[in-house]
Symmetry: C2
Subunit: 405 residues, 2 copies
């Protein structure tokens, strides 16, 4: 049996930092103080294997439980993943093949392993229990929940109000997710605020099945690089956990100052004391920031890169960033693109060099005066560009390409 750390300071940090809500906090505190190892559950959707820093918040919280000696269990929703949503109403539930699920799970672990100690982490596939269940089991489970209770869920009550139909199959998913908690005897379940309803269903089901109910811990959602919306891939305001150091550095330097403290809290291992100092240093009430926010962002970026890559990578990324932006030099390495054409319309050139993903994006870049060719800003999106060997093209702040003919 692992030795459990019951240090009140550690427990307090675990239950406050980055935490949105705990149901029920007093109960969880007692479990943590008891010195018994707890089963800590995180459910994983195998249809979205790519992790960004938004996902790291909950994984870092899991790591804190792991550090105290508790037992982490990742539930891969492979069964529901393979079924998908037969009604086709939910975009987040495409049906996946067994191979896709396993491939996605591997991708997930490769990334989660940067945060969690995977050797001490248990992984369970929920097909293990669901594949063996029949109508009778389904009805028994379903009998533990009422229609009123399930359609209370924000998403459902909203849809009923809007007159958007809810397939009966959709209301079965929270029940299945709840049953995962019963199967693994979860003591605590972690997740984002959007998962609160499902996690509480797990707590209720455990009670009804005469099991000690799990506590539910929700973490803060991470705001994306734009400073307003939740970090997500679809909004393109994210930093992937496998992104290269230069890209991470550049993106963190671009965040609004108002996010600095939040990112330190949710994404770094700074201690409570360090966080208090950062807060004071950034506080305008104490006579304006004592430290230039730019320097604070550089420190933040280096801490994050050191975590996901290495300290050396962090230093190198800072130097590269300074070379380009502070000293206005070209980056050390610019991707070279071989072209056969003698001349190209500027939009085609940007797409061919992969500086823009489409002509319309290319046009937007030109119109935003963000395109420089051989040191000259291009103003006309209909311009034809003469191709020359060694010509450097810059699009936006951090994207470069060099032509070879």
């Amino acid at each position: 049996m692992p030795k459990i750390n019951t240090n009140p300071k550690n427990i307090n940090e675990l239950l406050t930092r980055g935490v949105e809500e705990i149901i029920v906090k007093k109960e969880l505190e007692e479990k943590l103080k008891s010195g018994q190892p707890l089963n800590i559950k995180l459910g994983i959707d195998p249809s979205r294997p790519d992790l960004h820093l938004g996902h790291s918040v909950v994984l870092k919280k899991l790591k804190e439980f792991q550090n105290l000696g508790h037992h982490i269990i990742l539930i891969i929703g492979d069964f529901t993943g393979m079924i998908g949503d037969p009604s086709g109403k939910s975009k987040t539930r495409p049906a996946l093949s067994k191979e896709e699920v396993l491939k996605n799970a591997k991708t997930y672990f490769d990334q989660a392993g940067k945060i969690l100690d995977l050797k001490k982490t248990e992984v369970r596939y929920n097909s293990t229990w669901f594949a063996a269940m029949g109508w009778e089991d389904v009805l028994k489970l379903a009998s533990k929940f009422t229609v009123a209770r399930i359609i209370e869920r924000d998403e459902f009550s909203q849809r009923l109000k809007n007159g958007t139909d809810i397939a009966i199959s959709e209301i079965m998913y929270p029940i299945m997710q709840a049953y995962d908690s019963v199967e693994i005897k979860a003591d605590v379940e972690l997740g984002g605020t959007d998962q609160k309803f499902n996690m509480l269903a797990g707590r209720e089901l455990q009670k009804k099945m005469n099991m000690r109910p799990q506590n539910v811990l929700t973490v803060h959602l991470l705001v994306g690089l734009d400073g307003t919306q939740k970090m997500s891939k679809s909004l393109d305001n994210y930093i992937g956990v496998t992104e290269n150091p230069n890209s991470m550095f550049g993106k963190i330097m671009s965040i609004p100052d108002s996010l600095i403290f939040n990112y330190f809290t949710l994404l770094t291992d700074s201690t409570t004391e360090e966080l208090e100092k950062i807060k004071a240093d950034l506080n305008p009430l104490s006579g304006g920031p004592k430290i230039n926010p730019r320097d604070m962002k550089a420190r933040l970026a280096k801490e994050i890169i050191a975590f996901y890559h290495s300290k050396k990578d962090a230093e190198a990324a800072e130097q590269e960033f300074n070379k380009i932006f502070r000293d206005k030099e070209l980056p050390t390495e610019i991707p070279e693109i071989k072209l056969a054409e003698k001349s190209l319309p500027v939009l085609d050139l940007l797409v061919k060099t992969k500086l823009a993903s489409s002509k319309s994006e290319a046009k937007r870049l030109v119109e935003g005066k963000a395109v420089e060719i051989a040191g000259k800003v291009i103003l006309d999106w209909k311009a034809a560009i003469e191709i020359k060997n060694g010509m450097v093209i810059k699009a936006g702040k951090r994207k470069f390409a060099k032509i070879v003919i």
Copy 2:
């Protein structure tokens, strides 16, 4: 392939007599006229095997389909019967053992065989398909129905309004019943008005599974002997299909005149012409009943007894009835009860002779001046009665006992 009767007169009779509603009548008419044999479904609840004349209405309608050459399929809900309602919310869904289900089904067939030709009737147990289904199948089925559609059902919307919880398992039953129709490729489903929702769910599911949708035919509910409420065992206003001829005769003679025509329509094989004549004979607008309603009831009783027993039994029952009520004689056979006591309080005597089921019922009978002992009406419920050999006790109109000491 059986020869199908497509005679328009027969089809018209089939679709009107005792019929409450048909969805969609035109569609069903076309199916019947096509000359193709149709699958006619009736679902049976194996928890209630005892049939009374109220149940006979739908069975007689099935028999009419059978007479035209169509294929009758009785679905025994053994699977749901064995599960019962795990939430314990539905009183009509006790969990039954396999043996109970089979025993009840046998009892049902023994009785239904008085109406249907069982040699031409197919019986299917729904465990055949449900026992083999898993979560994936359940979710696929459930995806065909929406929450809004299911809670539309009168019973459910009523309960939601009253704040009475509905277990999620309960909303699965209509889905299962609907799937029965898919499995047996039903062309028509018959049932009482209270089954309309579930039958329509079957129609919808067939459509969604690209099958020709079944038509739904509901029959009139039979009013009980009291002339006001639905015939049911719990209201004790019923005639069982296995009841003895004397009891059937007496009960039918007791119905209010207003029920006579309705009972002829729903419970006998009278032709349309005969029914019209009965209606005219009973019509007060044509100068009051041309025939004494008492004689009409006797004819009704004899027709029903001839159907469930024999013509001879019907005649005998009439004679017995007349002997007791018209000629005020004692019935031919009176149950004999052996008693050792010399004297008994009247209430105990009535209970011991099984003429009353409890002392309070006995007291009510005495107070209603319905108790005669040795030809004398008993007026005092505290009276002590001296027991004599051969003494006849009468309670109510048709219950007798003879004492032997």
